[in-house]
Symmetry: C2
Subunit: 191 residues, 2 copies
């Protein structure tokens, strides 16, 4: 049951960043929550930037795995879209918005390596969505009027925006749901 300290640090840090952003969490916060000392965290992640960079990288890699899992299921594109949306929705259920959405707000404050990780995150997500939309198009279930790439970008913007709105309504998941259903009504079916 017990995992190694580095991963414990990453887990706690992820939660904190998703709630407070880059500038408002500290090594002291993490140390307190885990029950170790600040210096121990510096052993695993020498600087805050090292930690956050690893955070984004891991977050992205796990998302890619989840997307791959969705992709290889033998279900309709609509159901795959639903599962994708649920990746974002699930976070909200625990009062957490997307790590990369949060950090994008802090974009100007971050060093260029972390910025690059964020760009990769959005690029990867967009590519995956583009593939999904293309499959749906070819199967004749959707008709993307313009380009699938643009449609993908739009869906990502929507997910991020809907999360923000939900947060401003005290993490009201229903607000998120309403917006998503409205915008994706032609692309979803019940799961």
């Amino acid at each position: 049951m017990k995992q190694n300290t580095a991963q414990q640090i990453l887990d706690v840090a992820q939660s904190m960043v998703r709630n407070r952003g880059y500038s408002a969490f500290s090594y002291a916060d993490i140390a307190k929550q885990i029950g170790i000392r600040k210096a121990s965290i510096h052993y695993h992640f020498p600087s805050k930037d090292d930690l956050v960079k690893e955070l984004v990288k891991q977050y992205r890699e796990i998302l890619v795995k989840k997307c791959f899992y969705i992709e290889q299921q033998k279900i309709t594109p609509q159901k795959q879209m639903r599962q994708f949306v649920n990746l974002y929705r699930d976070g909200l259920e625990n009062d957490q918005i997307c790590l990369c959405g949060m950090l994008t707000a802090d974009f100007v404050v971050l060093n260029s390596e972390i910025q690059a990780e964020l760009k990769t995150f959005f690029s990867v997500t967009e590519s995956w969505l583009t593939k999904l939309l293309t499959r749906g198009n070819e199967a004749g279930v959707w008709k993307c009027i313009q380009s699938v790439e643009l449609e993908a970008k739009t869906i990502i913007a929507m997910l991020q925006g809907a999360q923000l709105l939900a947060r401003a309504a005290d993490n009201n998941v229903e607000a998120f749901d309403q917006v998503i259903e409205e915008l994706l009504k032609d692309k979803l079916e019940n799961n």
Copy 2:
């Protein structure tokens, strides 16, 4: 040409918050940029929370005025929608996202008074958009399938999300434009 110090502080602070968020700007930053001392800022705004609360309040009031101005023009609903969208777009041109979008990311860190100001911001914006959509509906230019309130909420989510995406692409206004045109193509016409 010279304005009073309090307003100068608010102006600089607004710019900083929209770029770095609540936790990553300081009185020292503002003081430096204006050319006064930290203590002088405390005279005008005793605490950081006082300053930010006033920031949001003023930002909202100015937005309301701009919306009122758009509303009373004798132009089509589509053109009014375009002007509304441009309120958000204009900020991006100067590498600034919406103050309230930024602060919503920091929502958990803020005190309840500031949170309330933010809620008011979204509530006011949503109401205004709802009115616009209703007028467009009644004039027969749009057909909002579901509720106009929901449609309004959706547009706001979209604007916030599109801004975030643009920021992650180094404040690429084109990314913002593409998403907006895609989503509002049936609700806009060229300005």
